[in-house]
Protein backbone atom coordinates (compact mmCIF):
# COMPACT_ATOMS: atom_id res chain seq x y z
CA UNK A 1 0.00 0.00 0.00
CA UNK A 2 2.80 2.38 1.01
CA UNK A 3 4.81 1.49 -2.11
CA UNK A 4 1.79 2.20 -4.40
CA UNK A 5 1.24 5.59 -2.77
CA UNK A 6 4.86 6.57 -3.37
CA UNK A 7 4.60 5.55 -7.03
CA UNK A 8 1.43 7.63 -7.50
CA UNK A 9 3.11 10.68 -5.93
CA UNK A 10 6.14 10.29 -8.20
CA UNK A 11 3.92 10.03 -11.29
CA UNK A 12 1.97 13.16 -10.28
CA UNK A 13 5.18 15.09 -9.72
CA UNK A 14 6.50 14.00 -13.11
CA UNK A 15 3.28 15.07 -14.84
CA UNK A 16 3.19 18.43 -13.05
CA UNK A 17 6.83 18.98 -13.87
CA UNK A 18 6.18 18.22 -17.55
CA UNK A 19 3.08 20.46 -17.75
CA UNK A 20 5.10 23.49 -16.60
CA UNK A 21 7.84 22.82 -19.17
CA UNK A 22 7.84 25.46 -21.91
CA UNK A 23 9.60 28.43 -23.47
CA UNK A 24 8.56 31.70 -21.81
CA UNK A 25 10.67 34.27 -23.66
CA UNK A 26 12.48 34.48 -27.01
CA UNK A 27 14.72 37.23 -28.36
CA UNK A 28 15.20 36.04 -31.93
CA UNK A 29 17.87 37.56 -34.16
CA UNK A 30 16.67 37.98 -37.77
CA UNK A 31 18.86 38.63 -40.79
CA UNK A 32 17.65 40.18 -44.08
CA UNK A 33 14.80 42.34 -42.76
CA UNK A 34 15.37 45.73 -44.42
CA UNK A 35 12.07 47.60 -44.53
CA UNK A 36 8.77 48.44 -42.88
CA UNK A 37 6.64 45.86 -44.76
CA UNK A 38 9.21 43.22 -43.83
CA UNK A 39 8.75 43.95 -40.13
CA UNK A 40 5.00 44.31 -40.53
CA UNK A 41 4.68 40.95 -42.28
CA UNK A 42 6.83 39.14 -39.70
CA UNK A 43 4.96 40.72 -36.80
CA UNK A 44 1.62 39.70 -38.31
CA UNK A 45 2.80 36.17 -38.90
CA UNK A 46 4.11 35.80 -35.36
CA UNK A 47 0.97 37.29 -33.81
CA UNK A 48 -1.12 34.60 -35.49
CA UNK A 49 0.72 31.89 -33.52
CA UNK A 50 -1.12 30.49 -30.50
CA UNK A 51 0.65 30.97 -27.21
CA UNK A 52 2.14 34.42 -27.72
CA UNK A 53 1.38 37.17 -25.24
CA UNK A 54 3.39 40.00 -26.76
CA UNK A 55 5.44 40.50 -29.92
CA UNK A 56 7.68 43.37 -30.97
CA UNK A 57 9.77 43.45 -34.14
CA UNK A 58 12.72 45.83 -34.44
CA UNK A 59 14.19 46.63 -37.85
CA UNK A 60 17.22 48.43 -36.50
CA UNK A 61 18.04 45.70 -33.97
CA UNK A 62 17.19 42.98 -36.47
CA UNK A 63 15.28 41.13 -33.78
CA UNK A 64 11.86 39.84 -32.80
CA UNK A 65 11.08 40.00 -29.10
CA UNK A 66 8.45 37.49 -27.96
CA UNK A 67 6.80 37.08 -24.56
CA UNK A 68 4.99 33.75 -24.50
CA UNK A 69 1.82 33.01 -22.55
CA UNK A 70 2.02 31.37 -19.15
CA UNK A 71 0.90 28.10 -20.67
CA UNK A 72 1.83 27.57 -24.29
CA UNK A 73 2.83 24.85 -26.68
CA UNK A 74 5.07 26.95 -28.89
CA UNK A 75 8.48 25.71 -29.89
CA UNK A 76 11.59 27.61 -30.92
CA UNK A 77 11.46 25.62 -34.14
CA UNK A 78 7.96 26.94 -34.97
CA UNK A 79 9.08 30.52 -34.31
CA UNK A 80 12.14 30.16 -36.54
CA UNK A 81 10.03 28.50 -39.22
CA UNK A 82 7.76 31.57 -39.21
CA UNK A 83 10.81 33.79 -39.74
CA UNK A 84 11.81 31.62 -42.72
CA UNK A 85 8.28 31.72 -44.18
CA UNK A 86 8.57 35.49 -44.27
CA UNK A 87 11.71 35.26 -46.39
CA UNK A 88 14.32 36.01 -43.71
CA UNK A 89 16.94 34.04 -41.84
CA UNK A 90 16.62 33.16 -38.14
CA UNK A 91 19.96 33.32 -36.38
CA UNK A 92 20.83 32.79 -32.72
CA UNK A 93 18.19 33.32 -30.07
CA UNK A 94 18.17 34.26 -26.42
CA UNK A 95 15.59 32.13 -24.65
CA UNK A 96 14.12 31.52 -21.23
CA UNK A 97 12.94 27.94 -20.79
CA UNK A 98 11.30 26.12 -17.91
CA UNK A 99 11.77 22.39 -18.04
CA UNK A 100 13.26 19.27 -16.56
CA UNK A 101 17.04 19.21 -16.20
CA UNK A 102 18.46 15.73 -16.57
CA UNK A 103 21.63 14.00 -17.69
CA UNK A 104 21.59 11.63 -20.66
CA UNK A 105 24.67 9.95 -22.11
CA UNK A 106 26.88 12.24 -20.02
CA UNK A 107 25.21 15.40 -21.36
CA UNK A 108 22.99 17.76 -19.42
CA UNK A 109 19.79 18.83 -21.11
CA UNK A 110 16.63 20.78 -20.34
CA UNK A 111 13.54 19.10 -21.76
CA UNK A 112 10.12 20.43 -22.65
CA UNK A 113 7.44 18.14 -24.11
CA UNK A 114 8.33 19.17 -27.68
CA UNK A 115 12.00 20.19 -27.62
CA UNK A 116 15.28 19.55 -25.86
CA UNK A 117 18.01 22.06 -25.07
CA UNK A 118 21.44 20.44 -24.70
CA UNK A 119 23.60 22.38 -22.26
CA UNK A 120 26.67 23.62 -24.09
CA UNK A 121 30.14 23.09 -22.68
CA UNK A 122 30.57 26.85 -23.14
CA UNK A 123 28.23 27.32 -20.17
CA UNK A 124 30.00 28.82 -17.17
CA UNK A 125 31.41 26.28 -14.71
CA UNK A 126 29.50 28.27 -12.08
CA UNK A 127 26.37 26.52 -13.43
CA UNK A 128 27.85 23.29 -14.75
CA UNK A 129 29.26 22.33 -11.35
CA UNK A 130 25.97 22.96 -9.59
CA UNK A 131 23.74 20.97 -11.95
CA UNK A 132 21.51 18.32 -10.44
CA UNK A 133 18.41 16.77 -11.93
CA UNK A 134 15.11 18.54 -11.35
CA UNK A 135 12.84 21.30 -12.65
CA UNK A 136 14.61 24.51 -13.61
CA UNK A 137 14.13 27.80 -15.39
CA UNK A 138 17.15 28.66 -17.49
CA UNK A 139 18.07 31.62 -19.65
CA UNK A 140 20.73 31.54 -22.30
CA UNK A 141 21.66 31.68 -25.96
CA UNK A 142 20.75 29.06 -28.54
CA UNK A 143 23.20 28.52 -31.39
CA UNK A 144 22.22 29.33 -34.97
CA UNK A 145 21.21 26.36 -37.16
CA UNK A 146 20.41 26.04 -40.86
CA UNK A 147 16.99 27.45 -41.69
CA UNK A 148 16.20 24.43 -43.85
CA UNK A 149 17.08 21.94 -41.14
CA UNK A 150 15.48 23.12 -37.90
CA UNK A 151 15.98 20.56 -35.14
CA UNK A 152 13.98 19.57 -32.09
CA UNK A 153 17.22 19.50 -30.08
CA UNK A 154 19.11 22.77 -29.63
CA UNK A 155 22.50 23.74 -28.15
CA UNK A 156 22.01 26.16 -25.23
CA UNK A 157 24.69 28.18 -23.45
CA UNK A 158 23.20 28.97 -20.05
CA UNK A 159 23.69 32.43 -18.51
CA UNK A 160 21.19 32.10 -15.66
CA UNK A 161 19.59 29.16 -13.84
CA UNK A 162 16.98 28.93 -11.10
CA UNK A 163 15.48 25.89 -9.45
CA UNK A 164 11.71 25.49 -9.60
CA UNK A 165 10.35 24.13 -6.33
Amino acid sequence: MMKNSVLVIIMVLLVVGTLNAQITYVDQEVYGMDCAPCAYGLERGLKKMDGLQKVRVSLNDGRAYLDLAAENELTLGAIQEEVKKNGFSAKKAAVTVSGKLSKENGQWLVATPREQFLVSQATSTEYLEKMTEGNVTVSGTVDDVEDDNLPSQWILTISKMERIQ
Binding site: Y31, L59, N60, G87
Partner: protein
Protein backbone atom coordinates in the same frame (compact mmCIF):
# COMPACT_ATOMS: atom_id res chain seq x y z
CA UNK B 1 -1.87 49.44 -94.43
CA UNK B 2 -5.24 49.88 -92.79
CA UNK B 3 -5.10 52.62 -90.16
CA UNK B 4 -7.39 51.87 -87.25
CA UNK B 5 -8.53 55.02 -85.53
CA UNK B 6 -8.79 54.72 -81.78
CA UNK B 7 -11.14 57.16 -80.05
CA UNK B 8 -9.62 58.99 -77.07
CA UNK B 9 -11.39 60.61 -74.14
CA UNK B 10 -11.72 64.41 -74.18
CA UNK B 11 -8.41 66.01 -73.26
CA UNK B 12 -10.02 68.40 -70.75
CA UNK B 13 -10.67 65.66 -68.23
CA UNK B 14 -8.28 66.13 -65.31
CA UNK B 15 -6.55 62.77 -65.48
CA UNK B 16 -4.44 63.38 -62.43
CA UNK B 17 -7.53 63.99 -60.28
CA UNK B 18 -9.17 60.89 -61.76
CA UNK B 19 -6.15 58.72 -60.99
CA UNK B 20 -5.95 59.89 -57.37
CA UNK B 21 -9.69 59.45 -56.85
CA UNK B 22 -9.67 55.92 -58.23
CA UNK B 23 -6.51 55.04 -56.33
CA UNK B 24 -7.92 56.11 -52.97
CA UNK B 25 -11.40 54.69 -53.32
CA UNK B 26 -10.21 51.19 -53.98
CA UNK B 27 -7.93 48.82 -52.13
CA UNK B 28 -4.41 49.68 -53.03
CA UNK B 29 -1.93 47.08 -54.07
CA UNK B 30 1.73 46.57 -53.32
CA UNK B 31 4.28 46.19 -56.05
CA UNK B 32 6.98 44.92 -53.73
CA UNK B 33 9.18 47.44 -52.02
CA UNK B 34 11.68 48.26 -54.70
CA UNK B 35 11.87 50.19 -57.94
CA UNK B 36 8.95 51.54 -59.92
CA UNK B 37 10.32 50.86 -63.44
CA UNK B 38 13.31 48.58 -63.08
CA UNK B 39 13.41 44.88 -62.33
CA UNK B 40 13.46 43.96 -58.66
CA UNK B 41 13.79 40.88 -56.48
CA UNK B 42 11.55 40.89 -53.38
CA UNK B 43 8.89 38.20 -53.05
CA UNK B 44 6.03 37.91 -50.63
CA UNK B 45 5.95 35.82 -47.48
CA UNK B 46 4.33 32.40 -47.80
CA UNK B 47 0.58 32.98 -47.88
CA UNK B 48 1.09 36.73 -48.27
CA UNK B 49 -1.39 38.74 -50.35
CA UNK B 50 -0.64 41.99 -52.03
CA UNK B 51 -2.69 44.46 -54.10
CA UNK B 52 -1.64 47.51 -56.11
CA UNK B 53 -3.34 50.31 -57.96
CA UNK B 54 -1.13 52.31 -60.30
CA UNK B 55 -1.70 55.28 -62.55
CA UNK B 56 0.61 55.57 -65.54
CA UNK B 57 1.21 57.94 -68.39
CA UNK B 58 3.53 57.66 -71.35
CA UNK B 59 4.05 60.55 -73.74
CA UNK B 60 5.38 60.57 -77.28
CA UNK B 61 6.01 63.63 -79.43
CA UNK B 62 2.39 63.66 -80.64
CA UNK B 63 0.25 61.80 -78.11
CA UNK B 64 -0.09 60.83 -74.46
CA UNK B 65 -1.30 57.53 -73.02
CA UNK B 66 -3.12 57.33 -69.69
CA UNK B 67 -3.98 54.16 -67.89
CA UNK B 68 -4.68 52.53 -64.54
CA UNK B 69 -3.27 49.16 -63.56
CA UNK B 70 -4.20 46.68 -60.88
CA UNK B 71 -1.87 44.00 -59.59
CA UNK B 72 -2.78 41.05 -57.39
CA UNK B 73 0.08 39.03 -55.91
CA UNK B 74 0.14 35.89 -53.77
CA UNK B 75 3.07 34.23 -52.05
CA UNK B 76 2.93 30.51 -52.80
CA UNK B 77 6.09 30.11 -50.76
CA UNK B 78 8.51 32.70 -49.44
CA UNK B 79 10.46 32.29 -52.69
CA UNK B 80 7.65 31.84 -55.23
CA UNK B 81 5.06 34.48 -56.00
CA UNK B 82 2.27 34.60 -58.58
CA UNK B 83 1.01 37.91 -60.02
CA UNK B 84 -1.93 38.97 -62.13
CA UNK B 85 -2.19 42.48 -63.56
CA UNK B 86 -5.00 44.02 -65.58
CA UNK B 87 -5.33 47.45 -67.21
CA UNK B 88 -7.94 50.13 -67.52
CA UNK B 89 -6.99 52.12 -70.59
CA UNK B 90 -8.08 55.74 -70.39
CA UNK B 91 -6.39 56.78 -73.63
CA UNK B 92 -4.48 54.61 -76.07
CA UNK B 93 -1.86 55.73 -78.59
CA UNK B 94 -2.40 55.68 -82.34
CA UNK B 95 1.34 55.19 -82.76
CA UNK B 96 2.76 53.37 -79.74
CA UNK B 97 6.45 53.01 -78.96
CA UNK B 98 7.63 49.45 -78.59
CA UNK B 99 8.16 49.16 -74.85
CA UNK B 100 6.92 47.45 -71.70
CA UNK B 101 6.89 50.88 -70.11
CA UNK B 102 7.22 49.45 -66.63
CA UNK B 103 9.01 46.18 -66.06
CA UNK B 104 6.59 44.93 -63.39
CA UNK B 105 3.25 46.25 -64.64
CA UNK B 106 3.34 46.89 -68.39
CA UNK B 107 2.25 50.33 -69.60
CA UNK B 108 0.30 48.84 -72.48
CA UNK B 109 -3.06 47.16 -72.78
CA UNK B 110 -2.09 43.60 -71.80
CA UNK B 111 -3.49 41.38 -69.08
CA UNK B 112 -0.40 39.68 -67.71
CA UNK B 113 0.12 36.72 -65.38
CA UNK B 114 3.59 36.01 -64.08
CA UNK B 115 5.57 33.90 -61.68
CA UNK B 116 8.44 35.39 -59.67
CA UNK B 117 10.87 32.81 -58.31
CA UNK B 118 13.56 33.93 -55.90
CA UNK B 119 16.14 31.25 -56.63
CA UNK B 120 18.89 32.72 -54.50
CA UNK B 121 18.78 34.51 -51.19
CA UNK B 122 21.54 35.18 -48.71
CA UNK B 123 20.59 37.16 -45.63
CA UNK B 124 24.10 37.84 -44.37
CA UNK B 125 23.51 40.52 -41.78
CA UNK B 126 20.99 42.55 -39.79
CA UNK B 127 18.86 44.25 -42.46
CA UNK B 128 21.03 42.99 -45.32
CA UNK B 129 20.58 40.46 -48.05
CA UNK B 130 21.59 39.52 -51.56
CA UNK B 131 18.96 37.85 -53.70
CA UNK B 132 18.17 36.91 -57.28
CA UNK B 133 14.79 36.40 -58.87
CA UNK B 134 13.62 34.95 -62.17
CA UNK B 135 10.38 36.10 -63.76
CA UNK B 136 8.25 34.36 -66.35
CA UNK B 137 5.00 35.77 -67.66
CA UNK B 138 2.36 35.42 -70.32
CA UNK B 139 0.02 38.11 -71.52
CA UNK B 140 -3.00 38.63 -73.70
CA UNK B 141 -3.86 42.03 -75.22
CA UNK B 142 -7.03 44.02 -74.58
CA UNK B 143 -6.54 45.84 -77.87
CA UNK B 144 -6.58 44.41 -81.40
CA UNK B 145 -4.11 46.93 -82.79
CA UNK B 146 -1.19 48.66 -81.14
CA UNK B 147 0.79 51.26 -83.02
CA UNK B 148 -1.16 50.21 -86.12
CA UNK B 149 0.08 46.63 -85.86
CA UNK B 150 -2.12 43.65 -85.03
CA UNK B 151 -1.13 42.61 -81.54
CA UNK B 152 -1.03 38.99 -80.43
CA UNK B 153 -0.29 37.25 -77.17
CA UNK B 154 3.15 37.39 -75.66
CA UNK B 155 5.63 35.82 -73.31
CA UNK B 156 8.08 37.58 -71.05
CA UNK B 157 11.10 36.36 -69.12
CA UNK B 158 13.51 38.29 -66.94
CA UNK B 159 16.13 37.83 -64.29
CA UNK B 160 17.24 40.26 -61.64
CA UNK B 161 19.78 40.30 -58.86
CA UNK B 162 19.98 42.80 -56.05
CA UNK B 163 21.21 43.99 -52.70
CA UNK B 164 18.97 45.32 -49.96
CA UNK B 165 20.02 46.92 -46.70
CA UNK B 166 18.83 49.51 -44.21
CA UNK B 167 20.67 52.23 -46.18
CA UNK B 168 21.53 51.22 -49.73
CA UNK B 169 19.72 49.24 -52.41
CA UNK B 170 20.79 48.12 -55.86
CA UNK B 171 19.37 45.93 -58.60
CA UNK B 172 20.62 44.78 -62.01
CA UNK B 173 18.34 42.94 -64.36
CA UNK B 174 17.57 41.97 -67.92
CA UNK B 175 14.56 40.63 -69.74
CA UNK B 176 13.04 39.68 -73.04
CA UNK B 177 9.49 40.21 -74.26
CA UNK B 178 8.24 38.36 -77.35
CA UNK B 179 4.91 38.88 -79.11
CA UNK B 180 3.44 36.14 -81.26
CA UNK B 181 2.16 37.06 -84.70
CA UNK B 182 -1.48 37.80 -85.47
CA UNK B 183 -3.04 37.86 -88.92
CA UNK B 184 0.33 38.14 -90.61
CA UNK B 185 1.56 40.98 -88.39
CA UNK B 186 3.80 40.94 -85.34
CA UNK B 187 5.09 43.45 -82.83
CA UNK B 188 8.85 43.61 -82.56
CA UNK B 189 10.54 41.74 -79.76
CA UNK B 190 12.04 43.61 -76.84
CA UNK B 191 15.28 42.77 -75.06
CA UNK B 192 15.91 45.18 -72.19
CA UNK B 193 18.04 45.77 -69.13
CA UNK B 194 17.60 47.81 -65.98
CA UNK B 195 19.84 49.17 -63.24
CA UNK B 196 18.61 50.82 -60.07
CA UNK B 197 20.31 52.38 -57.06
CA UNK B 198 18.34 53.26 -53.95
CA UNK B 199 19.12 55.16 -50.77
CA UNK B 200 17.31 55.56 -47.45
CA UNK B 201 18.32 58.85 -45.78
CA UNK B 202 19.31 58.75 -42.10
CA UNK B 203 16.23 60.71 -41.10
CA UNK B 204 14.12 57.72 -42.19
CA UNK B 205 16.16 55.15 -40.29
CA UNK B 206 13.70 55.22 -37.40
CA UNK B 207 12.61 51.82 -36.22
CA UNK B 208 9.38 50.11 -37.26
CA UNK B 209 6.62 51.23 -37.29
CA UNK B 210 7.93 54.71 -38.11
CA UNK B 211 7.57 55.94 -41.73
CA UNK B 212 10.17 54.68 -44.17
CA UNK B 213 11.11 56.67 -47.29
CA UNK B 214 13.72 56.04 -49.89
CA UNK B 215 14.80 57.46 -53.22
CA UNK B 216 15.83 55.53 -56.30
CA UNK B 217 17.68 56.47 -59.45
CA UNK B 218 16.40 54.15 -62.14
CA UNK B 219 17.72 53.43 -65.59
CA UNK B 220 16.28 51.33 -68.35
CA UNK B 221 17.84 50.31 -71.68
CA UNK B 222 15.53 48.94 -74.39
CA UNK B 223 16.44 47.46 -77.78
CA UNK B 224 13.13 46.92 -79.58
CA UNK B 225 13.06 45.05 -82.85
CA UNK B 226 11.04 46.12 -85.83
CA UNK B 227 7.38 45.24 -86.16
CA UNK B 228 6.20 43.17 -89.12
CA UNK B 229 3.07 44.64 -90.71
CA UNK B 230 1.50 45.30 -94.07
CA UNK B 231 3.93 48.12 -94.86
CA UNK B 232 7.00 46.25 -93.53
CA UNK B 233 6.82 42.56 -94.30
CA UNK B 234 10.48 41.74 -93.68
CA UNK B 235 12.30 42.17 -90.42
CA UNK B 236 15.57 43.86 -91.37
CA UNK B 237 17.11 42.78 -88.08
CA UNK B 238 17.87 46.34 -87.06
CA UNK B 239 16.98 47.53 -83.60
CA UNK B 240 16.29 50.82 -81.91
CA UNK B 241 18.26 51.75 -78.80
CA UNK B 242 16.61 53.64 -75.98
CA UNK B 243 18.05 54.55 -72.61
CA UNK B 244 15.82 56.20 -70.04
CA UNK B 245 16.79 57.56 -66.64
CA UNK B 246 14.81 59.08 -63.80
CA UNK B 247 14.08 59.30 -60.09
CA UNK B 248 11.45 57.44 -58.12
CA UNK B 249 10.38 57.64 -54.48
CA UNK B 250 8.97 54.97 -52.21
CA UNK B 251 7.22 55.66 -48.91
CA UNK B 252 6.18 52.90 -46.53
CA UNK B 253 4.23 52.95 -43.29
CA UNK B 254 3.02 49.73 -41.72
CA UNK B 255 1.06 47.88 -44.37
CA UNK B 256 0.83 50.87 -46.75
CA UNK B 257 3.13 52.02 -49.47
CA UNK B 258 3.20 54.72 -52.12
CA UNK B 259 5.69 55.07 -54.93
CA UNK B 260 5.95 57.62 -57.71
CA UNK B 261 8.49 58.60 -60.31
CA UNK B 262 9.33 59.57 -63.84
CA UNK B 263 11.68 58.48 -66.60
CA UNK B 264 13.12 60.60 -69.38
CA UNK B 265 14.94 59.40 -72.51
CA UNK B 266 18.67 60.07 -72.48
CA UNK B 267 19.32 58.14 -75.70
CA UNK B 268 16.90 57.40 -78.54
CA UNK B 269 18.53 55.91 -81.65
CA UNK B 270 15.43 54.75 -83.47
CA UNK B 271 14.82 52.72 -86.60
CA UNK B 272 12.69 54.41 -89.29
CA UNK B 273 9.06 54.53 -88.21
CA UNK B 274 9.80 53.96 -84.50
CA UNK B 275 8.08 56.35 -82.11
CA UNK B 276 10.05 58.85 -80.04
CA UNK B 277 9.15 59.12 -76.34
CA UNK B 278 9.14 62.25 -74.20
CA UNK B 279 8.54 60.91 -70.69
CA UNK B 280 6.94 58.27 -68.51
CA UNK B 281 5.27 58.99 -65.18
CA UNK B 282 3.74 56.54 -62.72
CA UNK B 283 2.23 56.55 -59.24
CA UNK B 284 1.49 53.37 -57.33
CA UNK B 285 -0.45 52.78 -54.12
CA UNK B 286 0.16 49.56 -52.19
CA UNK B 287 -1.36 47.57 -49.36
CA UNK B 288 -0.04 44.32 -47.88
CA UNK B 289 -2.78 42.12 -46.47
Amino acid sequence: MIVKKITKLPARINYLVLIFQLAFTGVAVAQGHGPLYGLQTPTLAKGGVDLNVAGMTLSTEDETLYMLRYLFSYGITEDLQVNLTTPTMIGRLDNAPRTRGNSNMPANGDIEASLWYRFFSNAFGVGKRFESTAVFGVSTPTDDVRGQVNVGQSVHAAISTGYASRTWYGWLGGGYHYYFGKNGEQLGDLPYASAVVGYRPNIFMGDYPKPDWRIFIESLAEFPGEAIYEGNLNDSGTRSTKVLVGPSFLGLYGAWGISFGAMFPAVQNLTPGAVREKYRVAINLSYWL
